[in-house]
Amino acid sequence: MRYLPLTDSDRADMLAAIGVETIDDLFVDIPDDKRVDGALQLPSHRPEMAVETALKRLAARNVPADSVPFFVGAGAYKHHVPATVDHLIQRSEFLTSYTPYQPEISQGTLQVLFEFQTQVAELTGMEVANASMYDGSTATAEAVLMANRVTKRRKAVLAGGLHPHYRAVVETTVGMADDALVLLDPDPSGTEDVISAIDEETACVVVQCPSFYGHLIDLKPIAEAAHAKGALLVAVFTEVVALAAIEPPGAQGADIVVGEGQSIGNPLTFGGPYVGLFATRQKFLRQMPGRVCGETVDADGERGFVLTLSTREQHIRRDKATSNICTNSGLCALAFTIHATLLGGTGLTRLAAVNHAQTVKLVERLEDVRGVEVLNDTFFNEVTLRVDRDAAAVIEDLAERGVLAGVPVSRLLPSAGLDDLIVAAVTECVSDDDIEAFATTLAEVL
């Protein structure tokens, strides 16, 4: 057993030092009749080589994004992550350390979190950010609960452009907390009227931009309308790279900005782990969920960093905590921070420009394909296509031809009557050849 350093003679010596005869003497508190007798119905230990082979076989039964023209987005995006990022996050000192509860020997992690919070605040245009959430969807649910606490109201309005999974997570979480929701209809056209759904009981309105369907939304009037009724605007994004191209939600009056940070630094990994970003205004700081890292000084007066404001958290506040979150997405946040540092403002802007330009190219190319219509007037790197066949079938046909062409909306909203829509994303990883492959193959199957 390569992972277990104790030898049989160690074990014997240690039992003797403890003063018991057998290891089972240490398990006496387990009721006799409940103890597992012998082995479970599980395979025995296996060599590293065998485990690796078995897992490689499973991996080989999946089609990696890198290996085909790839346009799947809808909340998770295939971007290129520099090798430096993955190398650094595997440093033993980052990878195998715990939550920095002993700050004197955790300044590496803590300083990274401080850099992360600053980056998130700048990108979203907000005043403060926390040290990460699980992902964008759970961050959105936390934002709604926080808005309820801040406004002391219990009704959230969810716009129709919100990612259906995010909506479902909010529905589940907020519903189970016995708070109320107003769910607007799905909005593939990007023209919905959110404002008229806001009333004096509204705690917050939750709007995603770019929307699930790729539309860019003017948040400012929504923020103003919300504020006029004493409600908050929760702005959501699933593609953080967009924030380098479009006006940040903070500049448009958002009160809480939440979203998914996966695009920067983190691979697709079939949906997780990802990293939820959470930013808000300074005045709501003490209602914010999740860990935060703050600057302070040590006994010598040197600058240092600590986890702070823990009186909001469950360790101290227990049932009065702002959230139950404990473990978050530290290492994904580290990857985000390293990648964002490599990019810098200039690189982020360029990355966003390349994404947008390639998307425009796809849209222009699809104009020549009969049977497909792009619904978007504005977009960043994702658009909604209406096809004249069942979208799910089209996607399957394209997959068979080696093109992963996007997500049929019906996969996430099966009973919404949107069976002819595809959401397609285009990143810097999409080449002109990929676009051509998409267009020609689509023409074949339509």
Binding site: I30, E93, I105, G108, T109, L113, T172, P273, D298, H356
Partner: protein, 497 residues
């Protein structure tokens, strides 16, 4: 050596990523284009490498030494698992690709589920929770949904005082009133104390077993029976599952829902705070309420059910906990870990973890105060700070002095049921030599404290990257992000130059 912040050394115009020139197209951003470019500093690749390598060296890590945080199970993180998680077939697949292009991934989830179910003796598993606390939420939602399906709205959840803070926080999040259960003198919960508080208003009890005092709850079967008698459910907090893998199955004890911290028990690395994964196993009674997505077998092949319209008869998913399907990256690592150990190795790991904790208890019992000496410890052993009383050495001093000896301190001041708690969990990954060195150091410190050598403790740590940090100051006027320093006011003399 001090390492500045990226904001102090980077420049917005610098970038460490070469990107192609964007094609010259007509923008479709409309009026939404950013008015000011992002003002974030960049570093070139060599600068970035050096900055983060240097920062990393200010961290303690398992790879550097024992990390005896109680209830955290900081064990060896095999690199095979990291390698496997990075195979393109796992790391580079999208959660919404067509199902036909991710069959291996779904099979892996099914395989992981089989291991979890066999080890826990339960009926169903919800894989998607993203961490332990998220798993608690999942389990308690299933309970709430099951009660709702019975047309019941119960209002209370029982939680022992020794519980992790996440337990009461989770119950409260779902609108339950939290009622504490006191522990017996010996650190465990008495079935009688539970019975006293049970009523038709009680939705569930949340119990950690082994508990955070490091003890196995001896009355657990009776407690489960009592809970079930009033129609309530038994939520088991699985944080300490490492002690009992292969020794006893929670399902056999009457537990209805329990989360498994893959980042503790199954060694997915903690990464300085996450990510984790908290799959929840469910009893027969709760299985129908498992959230979306869940796995079903169709024609002998596992299939992910994402669509509430498609659920088979009997399934009543309470909703969705997260976008997509959960922490695939952690599933790969955990399964690699399980397969490497096998059933036999996991059981041995639990035994070694328990053996090591009891060994430390034996080695330290005469110089430190074992909180509950009567019962065998499980995989962690709890001390109180009674042995420091009157020495002039505070509990915090004691912890910080350990840093100067090259060790990460144990969990301090938790659980709250013991004064000046010190909770030590060595895990099965420590060699005999490592345990002996750790014990010898603690003995030495405890004896020094006993002799009143306060100088050895005051002002520690002295040899860490930082000396003791002012946490009060941080909380009083929080500074949570870097802000450009004010330009230094020009002195009159300089201005005159």
């Amino acid at each position: 050596i001090e390492e500045p912040l990226i904001f102090e050394i980077g420049r917005s115009e610098t970038t460490g990523v070469d990107l192609p020139e964007p094609a010259p197209v007509k923008s479709r951003l409309g009026k939404h284009a950013r008015s000011n470019p992002v003002a974030l500093p960049g570093l070139t690749e060599p600068e970035t490498m050096r900055h983060y390598v240097r920062l990393s060296r200010q961290n303690y890590a398992i790879d550097l030494g024992i990390y005896p945080l109680g209830s955290c199970t900081m064990k060896h993180n095999p690199r095979l698992n990291e390698k496997a998680a990075r195979l393109p077939g796992f790391a580079d697949i999208h959660p919404l690709q067509p199902a036909s292009t991710v069959e291996g991934a779904v099979e892996l989830m099914a395989e992981l589920s089989r291991w979890l179910l066999e080890m826990t003796g339960m009926s169903a598993v919800a894989l998607s929770p993203k961490a332990g606390a998220h798993g608690e939420l999942c389990g308690m939602m299933a309970i709430k949904a099951a009660l709702a399906a019975r047309g019941e709205t119960r209002t209370k959840v029982l939680v022992p005082e020794s519980a992790h803070g996440t337990n009461p926080a989770t119950a409260a999040l779902l609108g339950y009133k939290v009622e504490p259960i006191p522990a017996r003198e010996d650190g465990t919960v008495d079935v009688a104390a539970v019975r006293e508080r049970l009523s038709e208003d009680v939705a569930a009890i949340m119990l950690t077993n082994p508990n955070t005092c490091g003890l196995f709850e001896r009355d657990i079967v009776e407690i489960a029976e009592a809970v079930h008698e009033v129609g309530a459910y038994f939520y088991g907090d699985g944080a300490n599952f490492n002690a009992i893998m292969g020794k006893v199955r929670p399902g056999d004890l009457g537990i209805d829902a329990m989360h498994i911290n893959l980042h503790k028990t199954f060694s997915t690395p903690h990464g300085g705070g996450g990510p984790g994964a908290g799959p929840v196993v469910l009893s027969d009674k709760l299985a129908p309420y498992a959230p979306l997505p869940y796995l079903r077998t169709e024609d002998g092949k596992p299939v992910l059910v994402e669509d509430p319209g498609e659920t088979e008869t009997g399934a009543k998913p309470f909703g969705r906990l997260t976008a997509f399907h959960g922490q695939m990256g952690m599933y790969v690592r955990a399964l690699a870990y399980m397969m490497s150990h096998g059933g036999d190795g996991l059981r041995q790991a639990a035994e070694d973890a328990v053996l090591s904790a009891n060994y430390l208890k034996a080695r330290l019992g005469d110089v430190m105060t074992v909180a509950y000496p009567e019962r065998p410890a499980m995989h962690e052993v709890l001390f109180s700070d009674a042995f420091l009383e009157g020495t002039g050495v505070t509990t915090l001093d004691f912890a910080k002095a350990m840093i100067d000896e090259g060790f990460h301190p144990m969990t301090m001041y938790f659980p709250l049921v013991v004064h000046g708690a010190m909770l030590i969990e060595p895990t099965e990954s420590e060699s005999r030599a490592s345990l002996d060195l750790f014990a010898a150091t603690l003995r030495d410190l405890a004896m020094a404290a006993g002799r009143g050598e306060t100088d050895r403790f005051a002002g520690t740590p002295r040899f860490a990257p930082r000396r003791r940090l002012d946490e009060t100051r941080a909380a009083r006027s929080p500074s949570l992000k870097w802000t450009k320093p004010e330009p230094r006011p020009i002195e009159p003399a300089e201005a005159a130059e």
